[in-house]
């Protein structure tokens, strides 16, 4: 801003002597304006983020080493007691396995299907906007509503999906009884809501692939399928990783769908589909009222997510620097981390 200030003060210096005092004042005011304004403008973000983002995270560590009840408040310092308590709970480990299982079931098919849909949308379509909007509809349905609706579709008795299975001669599936089946049902809800969204991200990446690559491939005699696997997929690699990372961060914090999958919302009688965040919620606001133990869980999940995010970041950077990725994908990899998790 130095340049601007100089230009601004240039006419002042040429002004008559008797006006110099007043101008001096406004000039000084202008300089302060230039110096302080940048900080003033970024301060709302930093102040609010410190209070509502950083402080709670740091304080979680403090709460986790104390006896701390929902109603009674802070108790004694107990060191690592809360952590060892939680780690010795089979429910904690079960919730962690459930979370990873649901995450895998929702991320892998989702990426494959989203790329397929993106490839369809990337064709030279009539009324392209209509189709793009069409696949995005599920995004505006709240996860709790999605869960209620799919809860009916996946009902153990007289659910539509089981009826169809019976109709084609298969056995109905215990969507609320069998552990893996419940994970599939919950993963389906996640996929339903995010499939179109991710397809559009992939579509944007596909449209950035230089068309001459395809032209060269056509000359070399490659068919459509071959083009897709040899050009499209490698070219959108970075975007694939970006989508995987965002779904990792969101997936490891899955809560809404599980909370609504049955009336009790705590992952079923045997915690068959209880996820780690639901476990955290139950520790704090369920029967135990133990904010200390819940904080220990939060802190461990936090570390897990950060570690996975960091590994993902390293992998992404590796791939970006190995060439072939567009400017956009590199920028996205910076954005990547966890914006979905912050939701």
């Amino acid at each position: 801003m130095a340049v601007l200030t100089d230009r601004r003060s240039a006419p002042d210096s040429g002004a008559p002597q008797r006006e110099s005092r007043r101008l001096g004042f406004s000039q000084r005011l202008g300089r302060w304006d230039v110096k302080l304004s940048p900080y003033l403008y970024i301060s709302p973000f930093f102040i609010l983020f410190a209070v509502t983002g950083l402080f709670p995270l740091g304080y979680t560590a403090f709460v986790s080493v104390h006896e701390w009840s929902l109603l009674g408040g802070q108790g004694e310092f107990v060191g690592m007691q809360n952590f060892t308590d939680v780690l010795s709970q089979p429910t904690f480990w079960k919730s962690l396995t459930n979370t990873l299982s649901i995450f895998l079931l929702s991320s892998v098919p989702q990426v494959v299907l989203a790329i397929t849909i993106a490839a369809l949308l990337d064709q030279n379509l009539r009324s392209a906007t209509f189709w793009r909007m069409g696949v995005l509809i599920p995004y505006v349905v709240a996860p709790v509503a999605v869960s209620m609706i799919f809860g009916r579709l996946f009902a153990d008795q007289y659910g539509l999906i089981n009826s169809v299975l019976t109709m084609i001669g298969l056995d109905p599936i215990a969507w609320h009884g069998d552990r893996l089946a419940s994970h599939v049902a919950i993963a389906t809800m996640v996929n339903y809501r995010w499939l179109g969204y991710n397809a559009l991200i992939f579509l944007a990446a596909m449209q950035a692939v230089p068309r001459d690559l395809y032209e060269a491939a056509v000359i070399d005699g490659a068919g459509r399928v071959r083009q897709f696997f040899s050009i499209t997929v490698p070219q959108i690699r970075a975007t694939i990783i970006f989508v995987v990372i965002t779904s990792t961060i969101g997936g490891l914090q899955i809560f809404d769908e599980v909370r609504m999958y049955d009336v009790y919302g705590l992952g079923g009688a045997d915690q068959n589909w209880m996820t780690t965040v639901v476990y955290l919620y139950d520790l704090a606001w369920g029967d135990q009222h133990s904010l200390g133990r819940a904080s220990a869980v939060a802190w461990m999940l936090f570390l897990l997510i950060v570690v996975i995010g960091f590994v993902n970041f390293l992998v992404t950077r590796q791939i970006s620097t190995s060439g072939s990725t567009s400017k956009k994908s590199r920028r996205k990899s910076a954005t990547t981390s966890m914006s979905r998790g912050n939701a």
């Binding site: 069409g134 505006v140 999605v146 179109g196 904010l291 997510i305 956009k328």
Partner: protein
């Protein structure tokens, strides 16, 4: 501002080039053949899967609870009894529907406006003003996007409870007034779409910094700000986790209404499903108007909300 330029600084050079190429291709016509019927058929199936669950909700909302418990699809067309369910939900004293609608609206609007304002302000500063520590601070903002702040719920709850905000809307609004992604997004946009000459011209004319922001930067930021606002709105409208902790069914938001429908009327599926549809309807209506912008926003790199 040409759309190519917009694409260039939001989605990268490659996307802009592709867009430009598309346009020329369309103009020259027929270089790339039209998609075949099989593509439309497959997309039709995808569309059907997207819409069917919502239609199914309407069907269940129109039928009898007894029928639902005996038949997967009690009827194939929705009928007027749907409105009976709507009415029951709206008039129920346990549900507080109008209050929930108002609360959701207040939260989504206030948060969207705040996020847009604070992000544009910070984005203007980061993109166009020079000050000591700018680089490291911007890196810090980007790094905070990698922090799952949702996991700070317990101290946040303690804080809200100390402030006496439990059950009040400010408990939901205040923690999400700023967004690291928003700051990053606006910084990106403004650094490429707002020419220094415009700012200098305003300064030469004697405009103060805030005046420059208000009359130069803010109007220039409008397209990106609109998208940021839109995504924040949807995100807040559908948000459940934190509101379910600090709000109760006496002062709910719409997603909490779904929860109380489930716990109060769980045997009456037609009522529950009618209510679920009613709760989903406002955003579907909004989507009909802004769906195009949402699509464009995602394709230009807006990140999951």
């Amino acid at each position: 501002m040409s759309s190519v330029a917009v694409t260039a600084q939001t989605a990268g050079e490659g996307a802009a080039r592709a867009a430009a190429r598309r346009r020329t291709r369309k103009a020259s016509g027929g270089a790339n053949r039209r998609a075949g019927w099989i593509v439309y058929a497959l997309l039709g199936i995808v569309l059907l899967i997207s819409v069917f669950p919502l239609y199914f909700t309407l069907l269940l909302g129109s039928s009898d609870p007894v029928e639902i418990s005996q038949n997967a699809v009690p009827q194939w067309l929705p009928d007027l009894s749907l409105f009976t369910q709507f009415r029951t939900v709206i008039e129920s004293t346990q549900i507080n529907f109008w209050l929930a609608l108002t609360n959701s609206l207040i939260i989504a609007v206030v948060v969207s406006l705040a996020v847009v304002l604070f992000s544009t302000l910070a984005g203007f500063s980061f993109a166009k003003l020079r000050f000591r520590g700018r680089g490291p601070l911007l890196v810090f903002v980007i790094a905070t996007m990698a922090v799952p702040t949702q996991l700070g719920v317990i101290p946040m709850y303690i804080l809200m409870s100390d402030l006496g905000w439990i059950g009040k809307l400010q408990a939901v609004i205040v923690p999400v007034l700023v967004s690291a992604f928003g700051v990053f997004w606006m910084t990106q946009y403004l650094s490429e779409s707002l020419p220094y000459e415009l700012i200098e011209a305003a300064r030469v004319d004697g405009a103060s910094m805030i005046r420059t922001f208000w009359s130069i930067a803010l109007p220039a930021a409008r397209p990106a700000a609109a998208m940021l606002g839109l995504f924040t709105f949807v995100q807040q409208w559908t948000n459940f986790f934190w509101p379910s902790i600090v709000l109760s069914s006496e002062n709910p938001t719409l997603p909490l209404v779904v929860k109380s429908l489930q716990s109060n009327y769980f045997v009456d599926y037609s009522l529950v499903m009618g209510g679920v549809f009613l709760v989903t309807l406002p955003l579907l209506v909004i989507f009909a108007f802004v769906g195009k912008q949402l699509v464009a926003g995602i394709m230009q790199g807006a990140v999951k909300g």
